[in-house]
């Protein structure tokens, strides 16, 4: 390809992409943008942000928890069993709507809920 043809190919690709994205409910090259738009809409409700904040606090609580729990009993070889327990409490409740929304996105937060 000459430089000029290559440059026109770039322009064509860009124009196609911009047009596709400008169209309502754009379906782009195998990647559906719709879940993300849903996410954006959900974000504006404010539920999302709070949910994340809570999950994060849960993380820290979990960190403080097992260390404290085993403090009186364990010697120097930590067994770490306490931490395998599923973190419970508000985090789970608040995260539920979030889990539904991101299904198919591979978010780690979901796993933290289900996988532990």
């Amino acid at each position: 390809m000459t430089t000029r043809t290559a440059s026109l190919a770039v322009a064509g690709a860009l124009a196609t992409a911009v047009t596709a994205l400008a169209a309502p409910l754009a379906s782009a090259g195998g990647m559906s943008m719709t879940p993300r738009q849903h996410t954006m809409a959900e974000l504006h409700t404010g539920k999302f942000v709070r949910c994340f904040g809570v999950a994060l606090a849960g993380h820290n609580d979990c960190y403080a928890g097992p260390g404290t729990t085993c403090a009186g009993t364990a010697s120097r070889n930590y067994q770490g069993n306490a931490f395998k327990l599923v973190p419970t409490g508000t985090c789970t409740a608040i995260t539920t709507p979030y889990v539904t929304i991101v299904q198919g996105h591979g978010s780690l937060s979901k796993i933290t809920e289900a996988g532990r």
Partner: protein
Amino acid sequence: MLPWAELQEQLAAALRDPERAPPAECIGPDGARATKRFAVYRNNVFAGLIDALAESYPAVHRLLGVECFEETARRYVSQHLPRSPVLLEYGERFSEFLEQLEPLAALPYLADVARIERAWLEAYHAPEAPALDPGALAGIPAHRAADLCFTLHPSVRLVRSRSAAVTIWGLNVAPPPWASLPPDPIAESALLARPAAEVEVVCLTPGAAEFLAALAGGLTLGEASERARSVHDTFHLTEHCTALLGGGWVTAAHLRRRRTRGH
């Protein structure tokens, strides 16, 4: 009494090494050296940091299993006490550590899986930024399109791998499918970004990885596209422009001046 800095050094050394006695300044209510009490403290430090690593690297944890992960994490903790008081920053060198750990040499993908998890964490905590409206590029004249440079979203992270790290990561943290471009079964790279609330992970072909790395490095759309084609001749530019702009991975664009005068 030891000077404060020296006492801290000795405390840290005794924390790292279970065989080492605490500094003589560590005493119990009876005035005797508090070796047992110190062991409890040491234990808590290790327990907390091992747990933090398990939380930050859930796929590695699952791949290694509980016992192997804890032993691996324990070794990491003994060599890398936190450098920051922010716990979520802990473990920033875990992937390198895994890569160099001889007993884990049979798992060549492991370090890359850890890199993806680290990138996920970084993307998750990266600053917010509004994505560039693709419509803003509609007015770019066709002959200048190749000169476009993009500023990528602050949460964008690129993890390049020679193994199927993205698939392995994905299978160990969530049931597929996650949003993806067609994966290459041999070499998978990952793009992680958090354009809105949650981190999105996209599996990239070698061409797409080259394309995004070039753009991230400040090259123009034309240059990045050429590079992508040089590693992947079926690289589809339209598809990747759409993913780039539609995915919210770009926050700004500018035209680079041409330096063709004199040729």
